[in-house]
């Protein structure tokens, strides 16, 4: 189960998307999110769906890997869908469960919401899947640098994000190990009611917290030993250049927008 969690992971391979400038990709992801919250008709959803499909395909990240990453959030998707299904008021009542009416509007809305969440996760995880943490934080730093003039501590913020990303797999590995160790001592995480299961998490969470603090402490010391100073002016080893690929990406974005606008106008 633990190995299903792919949030924030980098999938190392070569593809057009991997080679893109991180800044383009970040802007891209932001734009993609905005689009997801703006679209409303089925045709628009279809357009974004096709587009996402093409993106995943061209990123050379296996679909299986993507789907595995979706598994842990499926429960959220299902709950949202169910809530929308049963609580939406509408005119066409399809059927009734107890006192709750399931309407056509509710059905449409719940499908839309589920699709929206799935697309949101797929689209944004594509960013971290195709951009290594170092490159990602580098790009983020450049993008956010205007805020520096306003006194926002950007480099600290970026460092925090890159450390967080870097430690997700480590923490998952650690969690896996602790779960195994406690299982071997007879702990049961799979059976019992909710309260029991929550209680069963204690023997996992405490060692996890303890080791996270220990790691954080060690990391801080190691960084200080190498003279890390968050106030200093940092230069980058990497230069980010706007290349042909980025141009393609922007063209793709414009095409997507055009399609969406056409759909909107036609309706």
């Amino acid at each position: 189960m633990i190995r299903d969690i792919t949030i924030g992971q980098y999938y190392s391979t070569d593809s057009v998307i991997h080679r893109m400038d991180p800044r383009t990709k970040i802007l891209w992801a932001i734009f993609y999110m905005v689009i997801l919250f703006v679209i409303d008709s089925a045709a628009m959803y279809f357009a974004v769906l096709v587009f996402t499909f093409v993106m995943v395909y061209s990123s050379h990240v296996p679909f299986k890997f993507m789907l595995r990453g979706l598994k842990p959030i499926m429960i959220i998707v299902v709950i949202t869908a169910l809530l929308n299904l049963f609580t939406t008021q509408g005119e066409t009542v399809l059927f009734t469960v107890g006192k709750l009416n399931v309407t056509l509007e509710g059905l449409v809305l719940s499908v839309k919401m589920a699709l929206r969440i799935v697309l949101l996760i797929v689209g944004t995880s594509l960013l971290t899947l195709t951009t290594s943490p170092t490159v990602l934080s580098g790009g983020l730093e450049v993008l956010l640098s205007p805020l520096k003039k306003m006194g926002v501590p950007i480099s600290v913020f970026v460092m925090m994000i890159s450390i967080a990303l870097r430690f997700i797999p480590t923490l998952l590995e650690e969690t896996d190990k602790i779960i195994k160790a406690q299982t071997s001592r007879g702990a049961d995480f799979e059976n019992g009611n909710i309260l029991k299961r929550v209680k069963a998490m204690v023997p996992i969470l405490i060692p996890l917290f303890v080791s996270s603090f220990r790691r954080a402490d060690e990391l801080a010391t190691a960084m200080e030993c190498r003279c890390y100073n968050c106030d200093g002016e940092r230069t980058s080893y990497r230069r980010y250049r706007f290349t042909k690929n980025d141009l393609y990406a922007l063209i793709a974005l414009i095409v997507l927008c055009a399609v969406l606008i056409v759909i909107k106008v036609v309706q």
Binding site: K180, A181, I206, V210
Partner: protein, 286 residues
């Protein structure tokens, strides 16, 4: 005597859908009896930890057959459950699994999960604490304020308290000073003798294995390379080297002495044996 646990043609791959990818174990077969002391050796990444986790019922094998008390259990899920009940595992750096407020409570976690009565739990805790060398004066201390070595003992006591028939230890001596290491290995012997527990010790150190294990299983790139007594294993120095392992240093000294013309026999692998033989040969000491 018959094997309490036996695996046949065991294979394991870390990639769920492709057996040929991320393969950690290939066609490994072995078994062991109650009360044996077995060593598992192999280079880094040879599959030692993987095999240990399968034996402890924590990883489901990709392929292979599992026999418990001579009977095959075909359903892997059931086999894992049965293995978990019989096998205790001490992971590398087991101190990272401590979580309770007091040492006593932490050691009691295992027996409590088994649903034992208060008195039974108390008996288990005291017995395993004694075996693992945790003094009763530590019972009320927080496990987080102990030294590294003490923490490790508490963690080992926590596993012992589940009274496993088979105890697997994955590099238990990593990061311990020589004295603590010695004590730990001695305690393992005590557990083996007094409780008739099967001990499976995973280690890089051929010195430790040669001194304690009755049988050593050598893994090489996920394949079982050899399963024999220490004497037999160390007699083929060259083959062992190809697996990335060395025979114990003292055995290398003996072999050098032999090739230098001082004939003292070739199957000497522990310091004590070497000392005895050499002093005898030289006619000093007694």
């Amino acid at each position: 005597m018959s094997n309490i646990i036996e695996v046949k043609n065991l294979s394991y791959s870390y990639s769920a859908d492709n057996l040929a990818k991320d393969t950690a174990l290939v066609n490994v077969s072995f078994g062991f009896e109650q009360g044996e002391f077995i060593g598992i050796a192999g280079h880094t990444g040879s599959g030692k930890s993987t095999v240990a986790q399968i034996l402890a019922g924590l990883l489901t094998p990709s392929e292979g057959r599992i026999f418990i008390d001579g009977e095959e259990i075909e359903d892997y899920k059931e086999a894992c459950r049965a293995l978990r009940r019989r096998v205790g595992i001490v992971f590398q750096y087991p101190e990272h699994q401590l979580f309770e407020e007091t040492v006593y409570k932490d050691i009691a976690f295992g027996p409590k999960n088994k649903g034992l009565s208060e008195e039974e739990i108390d008996r288990c805790v005291r017995k395993s604490a004694l075996l693992a060398g945790v003094g009763e004066e530590l019972f009320e201390a927080s496990p987080f304020e102990l030294s590294g070595g003490q923490k490790r003992r508490v963690a080992i006591a926590g596993v012992l308290a589940t009274e496993p028939k088979v105890l697997i230890l994955d590099e238990p001596a990593a990061g311990l000073d020589p004295k603590s290491k010695h004590r730990l290995l001695k305690e393992l012997h005590k557990i083996q003798k007094e409780e008739n527990t099967t001990i499976i010790l995973i280690s890089h150190s051929m010195e430790d294995l040669s001194e304690h294990a009755q049988r050593i299983i050598v893994l090489n790139h996920g394949v079982k390379f050899k399963d024999a007594s220490p004497k037999e294993i160390f007699s083929s120095q060259k083959a062992l080297k190809e697996c990335g392992l060395e025979i114990p240093e003292i055995a290398q000294v003996v072999s050098l002495l032999n090739s230098g013309g001082m004939n003292i026999g070739s199957d000497i692998f522990t310091l004590k044996e070497a000392y005895d033989t050499i002093t005898q040969k030289l006619g000093v000491g007694k």
